[in-house]
Subunit: 146 residues, 2 copies
């Protein structure tokens, strides 16, 4: 299985998981442009959004919203969010499995945030799995029920 | 009525409209960062996404998807899309009425695209209403039915 996101869903690759259900998974981005940066993916492998069934797409956006709600309610307080889905290689999609970025924002840092996203740079320094796990736990505890 | 998007919905402000229904409107961005750049807004005035009811939010994303489908099917051919919703002032929301950016992309221009968005610059030179109307017509003709 060559797709890194499919390997996460299959349990073959570690991830700091925030949510999973039959349609979607959500986990901490391994290169967070901001602390609390989460990716929401469909379980079904598809490169592009238009290849997915309507209910799967709807669930991706819905899960993204609840993660933003959890950010606001949690210790990872956020003043706002960018919901960004880069659909297709020409749109800077860097992993060939559809994914929604849910990026908590503090303000005044839009271009720095987008620069990091474009260049695959982290905004939190060295990435430690235990820190990502802690943030995932914190978000999960504040996630509104479905 | 001070909100420019509410004035568009009320017919008090011109717009090159792509779609409208009971929940959502979609029209050409007046400062397109790329040709074909469309905004999708809820009819109900709300600054933040979390203030909207679930069905309204779901409709915003759904309309955004169909606009992307229309781009691909139309003469405004696109190789990919950024779906971007800047939720809150801290996330670079520039109009205080929730709106989804649907931005067609050609590739290799992510930072230029985001720079224009951050700086409120157009990517198509002088903006002419008749050109926006022509593009809105083209998209509308290829919009999948609901």
């Amino acid at each position: 299985m060559s797709c890194v996101f499919c390997r996460i869903v299959a349990g073959e690759q570690p991830a700091s998981v925030v949510h999973h259900d039959d349609l979607c998974w959500a986990f901490m981005d391994i290169r967070p442009v901001r602390r609390g940066h989460v990716l929401v993916i469909p379980v079904a492998h598809a490169v592009h959004l238009h290849e997915l069934d309507d209910p799967i797409r709807a669930r991706i956006w819905e899960v993204g919203q609840r993660i933003a709600d959890a950010h606001r309610a949690s210790a990872l307080t956020s003043n706002g969010h960018n919901f960004l889905l880069n659909d297709g290689k020409a749109a800077n999609q860097t992993v060939a499995h559809a994914h929604l970025h849910v990026i908590p924002r503090a303000g005044g840092d839009f271009l720095a945030t987008m620069f990091r996203l474009a260049k695959n740079l982290t905004g939190i320094g060295t990435i430690r799995r235990d820190a990502l796990d802690t943030d995932a736990d914190e978000i999960r505890q504040h996630l509104p029920l479905f």
